[in-house]
């Protein structure tokens, strides 16, 4: 008993030491960069990068030290925080504080937020790793483009039809592919995406490989508001669902579908619903992207690079959490834009490094890691358990020593 207590204590101390260590390193970097900025070297591109790393280390480790408090605050004030975000994002655009460049950055952050959160609904919450979500994006985009261009349908109406089309398509495909699990499901959904690309290339209504050019589209500000509205709505919907039995059931499917079935849950119904909801939101932003881009062709509608990018975003932010994928999307998108302007051509290299560091250092993603830390701290307070104490302490020790 006392040996275990001592061991647990030591590991707690080690975890904290790790966190303080990284905090000190981050602080040192910030001071050094600051001194350099004061001196003759002035602001260099490399120093900006160091500054960003130092700032991240400081902020992240401060968050880790206050993990329980941070999560409780976010949980207690979730709706207020969402409202503040929504009002703030509308205000900066309406007040003209965003120039065209930053407006583009923000618009894409919102869109990728939706894509990552939608993927997480099926991939993270339900545990079905879809590699075909871009198919819904393309279907939404093409539906809007064809209706707008060929039939003169008003854009708001095309959005509704596009979302419904994506939903129906998901339901039909879902009946077939949702019987598969894990890697088999991933491959099957990737197949769906590849088929969608080929079909779009060969149909005349989609303009084949030439695509469709859209004219007389609304200005960027309107699409900015549209993307923002979809993002805020989706965050609200997913957050609300995560507190209901529906949300819990999705998690049981991820954790142990066999057990869920034995407990009397009709898992087919739930996972099809999650997949449909994921498709609906993805199709909706696809339908906004087409007029924003003023052009749609198979390569942009079913962008396979994006298909991977929003999965990476969800993982970096923390799969199975509500805000994680959105933060991951915001972080990666703004990082890509910043690197592109500072070190043109290096964005994929930096992205690769970020992915590797995250996978090794933060396997649960940012929000996931915060949750684990809070959970481990609670376990210490409770006094741990026979076998679990040491395991939890070990897990925590590794958490402390990462960035």
């Amino acid at each position: 008993m006392s040996t275990r207590d001592l061991r647990t204590r030591l590991q707690t101390v080690r975890a904290y030491l790790g966190t303080y260590g990284w905090l000190a390193l981050g602080g040192a970097i910030l001071v050094l960069v600051g001194l350099q900025w004061l001196g003759p070297l002035s602001t260099s591109r490399a120093s900006l990068l160091f500054f960003a790393v130092g700032l991240f280390l400081v902020v992240w480790n401060l968050l880790l030290l206050r993990a329980t408090g941070v999560l409780e605050f976010a949980h207690d004030h979730a709706w207020t925080l969402l409202a503040v975000f929504a009002v703030g994002a509308v205000a900066v655009q309406a007040a003209g504080l965003l120039n065209s460049y930053w407006s583009t950055v923000a618009l894409q952050m919102f869109m990728f937020g939706v894509l990552a959160l939608s993927w997480d609904l099926i991939g993270g919450q339900t545990g079905y790793p879809s590699f075909g979500n871009m198919a819904f994006f393309g279907i939404g985009g093409y539906t809007a483009a064809v209706l707008f261009k060929n039939y003169g349908v008003a854009l708001p109406l095309t959005l509704v039809v596009a979302a419904v089309m994506a939903l129906v398509f998901a339901a039909i495909i879902g009946v077939i592919v949702l019987r598969l699990r894990g890697g088999y499901f991933a491959i099957a959904t990737l197949g769906v995406l590849l088929v969608a690309i080929q079909v779009a290339r060969n149909l005349s209504i989609t303009g084949g490989t030439d695509g469709i050019i859209l004219l007389d589209v609304p200005d960027q500000a309107l699409i900015y508001y549209g993307m923002l509205a979809v993002l805020v709505t989706e965050i609200a919907v997913v957050y609300y669902l995560s507190t209901t039995r529906f949300g819990y059931v999705l998690n049981t499917i991820r954790d142990d579908e066999r057990k869920a079935t034995a407990m009397g849950i009709n898992t087919t119904y739930y996972k099809t619903a999650a997949w449909g909801l994921s498709a609906l939101f993805t199709g909706l932003v696809g339908a906004m992207w087409a007029p924003y881009n003023t052009f749609i062709d198979p390569a942009t509608a079913f962008n396979t690079a994006w298909n991977v990018e929003f999965i990476v975003m969800a993982f970096i932010g923390g799969t199975g959490t509500v805000i994680g994928p959105v933060l991951g999307a915001f972080g990666i998108r703004s990082l890509v834009f910043q690197i592109d302007s500072l070190f043109t051509g290096w964005q994929l290299v930096v992205l690769g490094v970020v992915v590797i560091v995250t996978v090794i250092g933060l396997p649960e993603g940012l929000v996931g890691q915060l949750k684990q830390r809070a959970s481990a701290l609670k376990y210490y307070e409770y006094g741990g358990g026979a076998a679990g104490g040491a395991e939890a302490a070990d897990a925590d020790a590794t958490e402390g020593g990462n960035d």
Partner: protein, 260 residues
């Protein structure tokens, strides 16, 4: 009886038998895992199912719960023929099972594990509401009962094995079972917790009037708790009786000790 074997043989004890299997046979290719097993569990009983490894105990469980389709024979629940029913149907009829390899929803919190195991709030509209007060109170009660209330926000998969076992038990109770099927409740837990588990099972049986069928390898455990015991070997039922009868049964001793 010969003209109508199903109703004929079931009629005698239909009112008390909660679970009855008749001639249940399950084959996997050439292997007959369960071979024409007849058994019954009466209301309010605790029945043990013993047998060496590979005797077909878990397979029989799976045949009863509807996880496997039986090749021959019938399964009755409260006198109704439920042969071929899905696990979902059986579970909704009040039959709850626990697994040999303790299964909890690892990445969900302890409290969520319980809330989602409730059989209340399962109509369509309730799915989209937060769990009802009634469900929450029941979850709180059960958390206190198995002494896990300090861990309610803990990720279930991060707890110790023994704690997960207790959680799985609480989840089964959360589903408000009429019959509880337990696969090795004393497997892999320490001696002091075995005592605790005995109390929990007895309590569930007497206080909450849950009929219990359990598989167990720990002979002391099963002898102490079971009202009646069935012994299986090579898929066949080799003995039935009270713990004392089973302990003195030559066929059981042969099967366990490998005497020929």
């Amino acid at each position: 009886m010969a003209t109508d074997p199903q109703t004929g043989s079931a009629a005698g004890t239909a009112d008390t038998a909660v679970i009855r299997t008749e001639n249940v046979t399950k084959r996997f290719g050439g292997l007959t895992a369960v071979d024409s097993v007849d058994m019954h569990v009466d209301r309010g009983e605790i029945v043990g199912l013993i047998g060496p490894n590979g005797a077909g105990k878990s397979t029989l469980f799976n045949c009863i719960t509807g996880a496997y389709e039986v090749d021959e024979g019938h399964v009755y629940l409260n006198g109704t023929d439920v042969t071929g029913s899905s696990e979902r149907t059986m579970s909704q009829a009040g039959l709850v099972r626990m697994f040999q390899e303790t299964r909890v929803y690892g990445e969900m919190s302890v409290e969520e594990n319980l809330l989602v195991s409730s059989r209340y709030d399962t109509d369509v509209l309730s799915q989209f509401r937060t769990p009802s007060q009634e469900t929450r109170e029941k979850a709180d009660e059960l958390l206190a009962y198995v002494d896990l209330d300090g861990l309610r926000d803990m990720e279930a998969g991060r707890m110790s094995f023994g704690q997960q076992k207790l959680l799985e038990f609480a989840m089964a109770l959360m589903a408000d079972p009429d019959v509880l099927l337990m696969d090795e409740p004393a497997g892999g837990i320490n001696p002091s917790m075995i005592e605790q588990m005995l109390d929990y099972i007895r309590d569930t049986n007497t206080e909450q009037e849950v009929t219990i069928l359990l598989i167990e390898h720990n002979m002391d455990f099963v002898m102490e708790i079971a009202d009646r015991i069935y012994a299986l070997a090579h898929g066949e039922r080799i003995a039935e009786g009270t713990p004392t009868e089973i302990q003195n049964d030559d066929r059981v001793l042969d099967a366990y000790l490998g005497r020929e």
